[in-house]
Structure formats: structure tokens, C-alpha cells
């Protein structure tokens, strides 16, 4: 997600690490690098200025100069300040503590991802055992109402009927009354995209706000936004007093500096992050984790959480036992692949592992795609149970049969078996190393790690 930024900060800090003693000069140089990196990451220049000043005042002085590992110290200061800037430790959960139906308004520029975020949010709330109602209040963009209705159908969530010739304020007022009558406890209003300098449309938002008295007004921001993010966010905030931010399109390679700017300028926390096109690709936003990721420390917590929600504890136990006895067979291998697939795309998983962000760059092109995973599954599916348990019995004629059965070639079957043998060998080695040697071992693995690359 933020590989580029962490790469660059890494470079900066490599220089710092090389220094025996930290001088005021060194800090200055490092801070100039930090500043450029942040500017390149689309953080607003005013925010960058303040931030660098804060770090400077903390860094230059006894704290750093007397420290034994100055580089580490600066990293820590930058990290802490970034977390503070992003509002780390603050409560950024959705505030729905009001008399139902609770109204949530989504606002933002055109194309920021409001409608999609509405759908994702509704799905999230449904998962929280709430009963959300979706309200299309975008009468300007062609087929915007239809889009929300389609999303509602996909999610089995009711969407209020509206026509493009209605006044959005009326639609919202009526929808709220309807929600009250019909027992919906949360109402999500999808408003039309607009520029913050468009007085007419901004007035309309103010009137909708007056009509539905929303508990939450979420500003939907595109992670790719440049310097302008500050003006847009403060424009919306001044008129509407937003309560939070949804940062979308974070699954791209945008550095997402806009998030820093928006938080710094409006003081409103980022509450959710959109990380994909599918309707389950919405995450609760974690400031400290994001900052850790910016600094290349990986996002192990998210990974662990994700894994926990997907992996079956019993399965994991069984697998561990098997690993201990070195009985890891193709059946387990397939089960693992399926679990990995459940957790999301391989890219997004690898991105969360510390240190892998950089490795990914080298691996580019060698990345196993979802398609390849499917092929591997097909190959394993075409094996008999005996073959899966003991791959050494797979001889030439068996290979031919498997290839035919899975619609692949013998070469591909061979490749899979070869990779699998390698993986098995690696597993054995890891067992010997124990958990501490795991990371060390991983570094040296390279390609052998993925039997399917």
C-alpha cells in the first residue's frame, strides 16, 4: 500500500544509521529528505512544514544527540509524530449512539467513491447486526440511483425508491420517516458528488443535514488526491462540520498523503479505508498501523486479525501437528491455498508482512496470480487420494493422467511437484530452526517459498 513511501524513508534512515554520532547537521539533512518524501507522497506543504518543524524541535537537542542509536531515535520520533498527526489512540469508531433511526451522510467530490462506500458501509453495519437502509440522494449523475439500487440488490439491503426529478432534500426527509415507520435503525444517505466551491450544491447538503440531523457526516476522500485535499476537506468541513473520513482506493499505489493532510487540517479522524472494488473491501482504519506501514514496519496486526477470522483453529492445530511430523502433503497444501484465497489477494497479504514490501518489488512478475492458484488447485484435484498423501508414487503415466484431467500439461504438473518437494524441504528446515529462525529462514528462501511461482 505505502511501499514507496517506506522505501524512501528507509533510504533516508539508512543514511542516518550509518552515522556514528548525530549532529545538528545530520538531522537537518535527514529532515529535508523526510520533507521531500512527504511532499512527493501528496501531503500538503503546510502540513509538511508543521510536521518537520515538530520533528526538528524534538530531534535536535539532547534527546537525539546523547542517544546511543541516533538513527533509531529519529525513526521513533518521526513514527510517534506521524501517529500523533494521524490521531493514533483516538477513538475512530462509528458513532451510532442516538435514537434510531441513526442517519449517516456520505459527502465528497465526484468520483471519490461515495456510492460504493455506501454499499460497503451498509454491508459492514449489517454484519454488526444493524438494519441499514440506503437512500439515493444523487439526482444529478445519470444512473446514480440505479447504481445504489443494484448494490442494494447484491447485498439484500433495502434501497429507498427515488426518481431523478425529485428534490434530494425531500427524498432524504421522506426516507427518514419511512425508516422510522419500518423499523430500520440506520439510514445511509448517498449524496451527489460536488465541488466544495459549488455554493448551490453545498447549500443543498446543508439543507439535507438540517432535514435528517445526521449523527455521522462522513467525507469520502480519494487516496490519490494531491495538494488540493486540504482545500476540499476544509471546504466541506466548514459548511457541514464533518465527523469523519472514509479513505478510498487505498489498494492502488497512491501514497495516501492526503489522509495526513485531511486529518491535520480538519482534525477529523479517518474512520474507514476502502481497499478494493468488491463490497467486502472496507476496513476499520487504524492510524498506528498505517503509520507503521508507512515506515516499513509491516502491518502484522491486520494480518493476524484477518487470519483469525478465516482460519479454523482445529485445522491450524492439525496442520501444526503434521508439520511437526513432516507429514505435510498435497492435501494440506491445497487447504492452505484455499485459506489464503479467503483472506484476499496474495498481493495484499504479502504487503502486510514486514520486509516483504520491498521483496515484492524484486519478485514483480514472479508473483503468483489468482489464475495460477486455480491451476494448482485443478492439478491437485485431479490426483487420487493416495497420490495426494504420498506424491512420490506419481510416476510418468500418473502425471499424464493428472495433466489430462486438469487440462494442464505434464510440464506444469512436474513443476508443481518440484516446487512442492522444495516447499516440503523448507518446512523441515524451518522446523529445525524453530520460531526464532523463521524470519531468518524466510529471507534466504527466495523462490523456494512459493511452490507456485
Amino acid at each position: 500500500m505505502f511501499e514507496n513511501l517506506s522505501d524512501k524513508l528507509d533510504l533516508v534512515f539508512k543514511k542516518l544509521r550509518g552515522q556514528g554520532v548525530m549532529t545538528e547537521e545530520n538531522v537537518k539533512e535527514a529532515l529535508r529528505e523526510v520533507r521531500l518524501v512527504l511532499l512527493e507522497a501528496d501531503v500538503n506543504f503546510k502540513v509538511v512544514k508543521d510536521f518537520v518543524e515538530k520533528v526538528r524541535s524534538r530531534a535536535v537537542g539532547t534527546e537525539v544527540l546523547q542517544s546511543l542509536t541516533p538513527g533509531q531515535q529519529v525513526i521513533k520520533i518521526v513514527h510517534d509524530e506521524l501517529v500523533a498527526l494521524m490521531g493514533g489512540g483516538e477513538d475512530n469508531s462509528l458513532d451510532l449512539a442516538a435514537k434510531p433511526p441513526v442517519a449517516i451522510m456520505m459527502v465528497g467530490l465526484q468520483g471519490a467513491g461515495k456510492t460504493t462506500s455506501c454499499g460497503k458501509l451498509a454491508r459492514y453495519l449489517k454484519g454488526q447486526r444493524r438494519r441499514p437502509l440506503l437512500v439515493p440522494a444523487d439526482v444529478y449523475r445519470p444512473a446514480a440511483i440505479e447504481q445504489l439500487k443494484t448494490l442494494g440488490r447484491q447485498l439484500s439491503i433495502e434501497v429507498v425508491d427515488a426518481r431523478a426529478d425529485q428534490d434530494p432534500v425531500d427524498i432524504c426527509r421522506d426516507a427518514l420517516q419511512y425508516a422510522e415507520r419500518s423499523g430500520f435503525d440506520t439510514v445511509i444517505f448517498d449524496t451527489a458528488g460536488r465541488h466544495q466551491i459549488d455554493d448551490f450544491l453545498m447549500d443543498e447538503l446543508v439543507r439535507i443535514k438540517g432535514a435528517v440531523d445526521p449523527r455521522e457526516i462522513l467525507f469520502v476522500a480519494d487516496a490519490m488526491t494531491g495538494q488540493e485535499a486540504v482545500n476540499v476537506a476544509s471546504g466541506f468541513n466548514e459548511r457541514l462540520d464533518i465527523t469523519g473520513v472514509v479513505l478510498t482506493k487505498l489498494d492502488g499505489d497512491a501514497k495516501g498523503g492526503a489522509a495526513l493532510s485531511i486529518k491535520a487540517v480538519t482534525g477529523r479522524p479517518v474512520k474507514f479505508a476502502g481497499i478494493g472494488e468488491k463490497l467486502d473491501a472496507l476496513e476499520v482504519f487504524h492510524a498506528d498501523r498505517l503509520v507503521s506501514r508507512i515506515l516499513g514496519m509491516g502491518d502484522v496486526l491486520t494480518l493476524v486479525e484477518k487470519a483469525q477470522s478465516v482460519f479454523d483453529a482445529k485445522d491450524a492445530e492439525r496442520l501444526q501437528q503434521k508439520l511437526k511430523k513432516s507429514q505435510f502433503d498435497l492435501e494440506d497444501f491445497k487447504a492452505q491455498l484455499q485459506q489464503i484465497k479467503k483472506m484476499g489477494s496474495i498481493d495484499s497479504i504479502l504487503g502486510m508482512i514486514p520486509g516483504v514490501g520491498k521483496m515484492m518489488k524484486q519478485l514483480q512478475g514472479a508473483q503468483p496470480s489468482e489464475k495460477e492458484l486455480k491451476r494448482i488447485e485443478a492439478i491437485i484435484d485431479s490426483m487420487t487420494r493416495a497420490e495426494r498423501a504420498n506424491h512420490s508414487i506419481i510416476n510418468g503415466s500418473r502425471r499424464l493422467r493428472i495433466a489430462k484431467g486438469s487440462g494442464t500439461s505434464v510440464q506444469e504438473v512436474n513443476q508443481l511437484l518440484k516446487r512442492f518437494t522444495e516447499a516440503q524441504r523448507v518446512m523441515k528446515q524451518l522446523q529445525k530452526l524453530g520460531p526464532k529462525g523463521l524470519m531468518k529462514g524466510m529471507g534466504g528462501l527466495g523462490k523456494g517459498m512459493f511452490p507456485f511461482s
Binding site: 467530490l109 444529478y140 444512473a143 465541488h195 490519490m224
Partner: protein, 340 residues
């Protein structure tokens, strides 16, 4: 007051939905509302005023009271350019050029420096600027690509209207089969412009839509076929492959096509636009850029970077949500508005 608002509202609605019944209305706004539809240049200037505040305002502050331009000033200027969303490489280039002139003693004061900067930016934009000529081939095929939410479909609607108005036979292909109601959105634009739209069911193979559209364009002897693709982040390998396939299909069915691959960029996008342009160009041989949402407060700064770093002409700019709010990109006008 309320009536005035209603009048405006109705006017806006008329502009948006009235197109199918009376297409004339979309071009000639009713006489009652000239004040709410300022001239194009005014709007562009208004939109750019924010950029101006940052770019020129800050350069002025920087140069205030400085009799001589030195290296430190240039360094700060580099930062200012960077914050105007003019990418790193282009900012460095611009500064290098200024340094050269400084060495030759060509820049005596702030005014001279500003003029030099303006000329440099203009030169970079003009170098690649070229309006799109759709008469070079029949049918002329435009594939419109970009990340999610930049305004691809809206841009296509405006393009369709513009060329339909000038008497061309236009056909639209709704190859965005992923996003909910994307095809419906294109159909509404098609109705407004009075052109046909080829579409399939949601979730269909986009290449199949394109195949049908190509066949239809040939059969109906269309002059222009515009293909709307789904928004895709440039980092998603599979989606980029899908886009390559669309282009392959077009090329197979209509030799020489696509004649134009138009990358749509949002004016509010920051440095990421450079990454977008790079990866889209690698995957789809982008041949032109359309810059949208310039009616907001967003900067046009990225255009300078994208055009300069990838030798791409900026073809169109979008300055509003109306069907006629699409213009040819004019570097002179753009830079003039930027520096006014």
C-alpha cells in the same frame, strides 16, 4: 430568493435531463440564467484560481523584496512547484532550465523569473499539444481508460454529444460491465446525445461487448466508436490484462484500431497521476489525455508533469457536468489562466 434558486435548479435539471427532448437547450442556455453560467474562460479561471493562489501567490511571496535570484531561492521554488502537483522530474527540469538562464544573467528580477517559468511551462505543454483528429479513419475508434471515478463515462457522454452535433455517426460501447449501473449511465448519456449504445448484461465479458460494438460500427457505417471501459487501478495486473484484451479485440475486428487510447485523469489527483500515466501507457499505449473536473478548485499541475514526462498530448478538459462542458485543451489559455 427561493424562486431564484428554483429557477436555477430547474435550469440545472433541464440541462441534465432535458437533452433528449430538446437537445438545443443543452447548447443554448435559457436567457434567464446567464449569470449562473459564466463564460468558459471565467469558469476555468475561477477553477484555476486556487492553483494560482498557491503557484503564483507563493512565488510572489518568495520573490518579494529579493533583488537577486540565488540558488536558495530556486530550491524553494522547486518545492513550490512540487506542491502545485507538478511532479518531481518536471519540477527539477524546470528549475534546471531556470538555473541555466540565471547563469547567463538573463534573470535580473522576479518578473523575469516568472516570465521565464511561464514560457517554460507553456513550451512543455505546446511541444506535445495536438487536437484529436477523428477524420483520419472510418470508423475512428477511441478507447477510454482510467482509474475509478475520474469521469470516464461523463467524458464519453460529452464527446458523443460533441461529435453527434457536428454531424458524425457516433456509436458507444458500454464495456464497463463491472460497476453497478455503469451501462445505464452510459445509456442516459447516449439518449441525451441521440446516439446508440451497445451493451450487454452486467458481469458480461467486456471484450464480447467490444466485439459486438465493432461489428455494429462497421455494419452501421459509423464514423466514430467510443468504448467505455471499467475503472481500474493501474496496479491490478488482471484488470490491466483485461484492458489489453479489449484492445486486441478492437485491433482484430477493425484494422488499425484503436486509433486513440484516451487516458482520463482527475484534476484533483496528485503525484499518483504520474504512476497512472506510466502504467497505463505501458499496458495500453495511451495516445492522449483528458483532464476532468477542472471546474473545481483542483490544480491542473499534473498535466504539465504527465504531458512532459510521457510525451502525451492533452486532448480535452472537462469543466462541468453539463453535456457541453468539454473543451479542446488550449495550452495558451491554460497557462494564461494559471498565471493571471
Amino acid at each position: 430568493m427561493a424562486e431564484e434558486q428554483k429557477g436555477f435548479f430547474r435550469g440545472l435539471m433541464g440541462k441534465l435531463v432535458g437533452g433528449d427532448a430538446q437537445p438545443q437547450e443543452t447548447v443554448i442556455p435559457p436567457a434567464s440564467e446567464p449569470e449562473v453560467r459564466p463564460g468558459f474562460f471565467e469558469r476555468l479561471k475561477k477553477g484555476l484560481s486556487r492553483t494560482q493562489e498557491n503557484l503564483i501567490g507563493r512565488i510572489d511571496t518568495l520573490l518579494l523584496g529579493k533583488k537577486q535570484i540565488d540558488a536558495d531561492t530556486l530550491e524553494e521554488l522547486e518545492e513550490i512547484l512540487l506542491t502545485a502537483d507538478i511532479g518531481v522530474a518536471t519540477s527539477v527540469e524546470l528549475i534546471r532550465a531556470l538555473e541555466q538562464r540565471l547563469k547567463r544573467n538573463e534573470l535580473q528580477d522576479g518578473e523575469a523569473l516568472k516570465r521565464a517559468l511561464r514560457e517554460d511551462i507553456l513550451a512543455r505543454l505546446e511541444k506535445y499539444a495536438a487536437p484529436l483528429d477523428i477524420n483520419t479513419s472510418t470508423p475512428f475508434v477511441i478507447v477510454v481508460i482510467g482509474v475509478n471515478g475520474v469521469g470516464k463515462t461523463t467524458t464519453i457522454g460529452k464527446l458523443a454529444n460533441r461529435y453527434a452535433m457536428s454531424g458524425k455517426r457516433v456509436l458507444l460501447a458500454a464495456a464497463d460491465t463491472f460497476r453497478a449501473a455503469a451501462a445505464e449511465q452510459l445509456e442516459i448519456w447516449g439518449e441525451r446525445a441521440g446516439v446508440d449504445v451497445i451493451r450487454h448484461q452486467e458481469g458480461a465479458d467486456p471484450s464480447a461487448v467490444v466485439f459486438d460494438a465493432c461489428k455494429a460500427a462497421l455494419a452501421r457505417q459509423c464514423d466514430l466508436l467510443i468504448i467505455d471501459t471499467a475503472g481500474r487501478l493501474h496496479t491490478k495486473v488482471n484488470l490491466m490484462e483485461e484492458m489489453k484484451k479489449i484492445r486486441r479485440v478492437v485491433g482484430r475486428e477493425i484494422p488499425g484500431a484503436p486509433h486513440e487510447t484516451l487516458l482520463v485523469l482527475d484534476a484533483a489527483t496528485g503525484q499518483n497521476a504520474i504512476s497512472q500515466a506510466k502504467l497505463f501507457k505501458e499496458a495500453a499505449e495511451v495516445s492522449g489525455v483528458a483532464l476532468t473536473k477542472l471546474d473545481g478548485s483542483a490544480k491542473g499541475g499534473i498535466v504539465v508533469a504527465v504531458s512532459n514526462e510521457f510525451q502525451l498530448p492533452v486532448r480535452y478538459i472537462g469543466v462541468g457536468e453539463g453535456v457541453d462542458d468539454l473543451r479542446d485543451f488550449d495550452p495558451q489559455q491554460f497557462v494564461a489562466a494559471l498565471f493571471q
